[in-house]
């Protein structure tokens, strides 16, 4: 009997103590939960608000880069005009476009690819000069419709330009097709030039300006006939 009573007393005591343990556990759970929340907040501290700031920075950067690209693009058109005023249009164009592209590519993080075409009015011959400032070597194929030869294929290292001569068989519009491989992808650009009894020149430019978090790219063709 005594043993049973003792057992029951002990049993009750244990039960009550157990309940109080649960009470302790409830309070401690709040502290544990708060520690976890605090840890999570501290871990996420650097992430909170970073995205919006990053987006805002990228937006501003894109605006700046876009203005810079617009400026560069416009200058290519202006250089075509400068070259057209020279006695040796083809030679001057080749030199000016290369110097300017090289200047830009060395000054800022820019990648430029251009094709300058000058049509000599006297003999239907035209020269195509490709400038590579993409900071990597490219495989280039240049084709021209109604011309001899129909095309050229060559490898271009970065910061170089290459000129090729074509002879047109017609007076009229000739389509120039530039195909180049870059980063395992083939890119094709096509633009027309006019072969006639008057001089004409064209410049195709594909320029990219990189910033810290963004880049902008533009392609433009300028034509001049005189």
């Amino acid at each position: 009997m005594n043993m049973t009573r003792e057992y029951n007393i002990l049993h009750k005591g244990m039960r009550i103590e157990g309940e109080n343990r649960r009470f302790y556990s409830s309070g401690q759970m709040f502290i544990i939960a708060s520690i976890l929340i605090v840890t999570a907040l501290l871990a996420l501290k650097n992430l909170l608000g970073v995205y919006s700031t990053f987006e805002e920075k990228r937006f501003e950067e894109t605006l700046d880069l876009d203005s810079q690209l617009k400026n560069i693009k416009n200058e290519f058109g202006y250089i075509l005009g400068i070259a057209a005023l020279q006695n040796d249009v083809n030679g001057s164009g080749i030199r000016f476009f290369y110097n300017f592209s090289n200047f830009i590519a060395n000054d800022i993080d820019a990648r430029i690819l251009y094709v300058f075409v000058f049509v000599n009015s006297s003999n239907q011959a035209f020269g195509v000069t490709t400038g590579n400032l993409l900071r990597e070597a490219i495989n280039v194929t240049i084709n021209a419709t109604n011309s001899t030869p129909t095309g050229y294929t060559f490898i271009m290292n970065s910061s170089f330009n290459t000129s090729r001569e074509f002879q047109s068989s017609i007076n009229g519009t000739i389509n120039i097709t530039l195909t180049y491989s870059r980063q395992n992808s083939n890119i094709t650009e096509r633009f027309p030039i006019l072969v006639s009894t008057i001089r004409s020149a064209a410049i195709f430019v594909d320029a990219r300006v990189h910033g810290e978090n963004a880049f902008v790219r533009a392609k433009e063709i300028y034509n001049k006939t005189w």
């Binding site: 049973t4 009573r5 029951n8 007393i9 009750k12 005591g13 009550i16 103590e17 309940e19 109080n20 009470f23 302790y24 409830s26 309070g27 401690q28 709040f30 502290i31 939960a33 708060s34 520690i35 929340i37 605090v38 907040l41 501290l42 501290k45 909170l48 608000g49 919006s52 700031t53 805002e56 501003e60 605006l63 700046d64 203005s67 810079q68 400026n71 560069i72 200058e75 290519f76 202006y78 250089i79 400068i82 005023l85 020279q86 001057s92 030199r95 000016f96 110097n99 300017f100 200047f103 830009i104 060395n106 000054d107 800022i108």
Partner: protein, 150 residues
Amino acid sequence: MGVSQKENGFVEGVCKRRFSAPKGYIYTLEVLIAISLILVSVVFIFRNPPAKPEFGISTMKIQGLQALEYLDNKGDLKNLVFQENETELENRIKNILPIEAQFETEICNFSCSAANVPLNETVIGIDYYASGYKENYVGKKVRLWIWRRS
């Protein structure tokens, strides 16, 4: 059988007296500690307000860039770059930019001298390229440093 009323009551009474205080007191205290811990850490983490967007700087940058674009579209910039006339270029820019903007210009290729640019101010650098003027190839840029008058 089992436990007598007296024994039973005695045990429960003791236990109630022993554990009634922790039940309300410590439990509340622990919750308060938990809340305070979260509050203190939230205050600590968010004590600095989110970085204020630098609208002033970007506005100045846009103004500087537009001033150069305006001069270029007007036909003045390329001429002044060709002549390397920085003084006249600065006079033209002065008429365009707001009065609180201080600036310095340099016509250069790669290395532009920042001789008159203050070191203790937030200065924005803007580059504007000029390939040439009329039949002359130049291949230079205008570097415009702009900062707010303190």
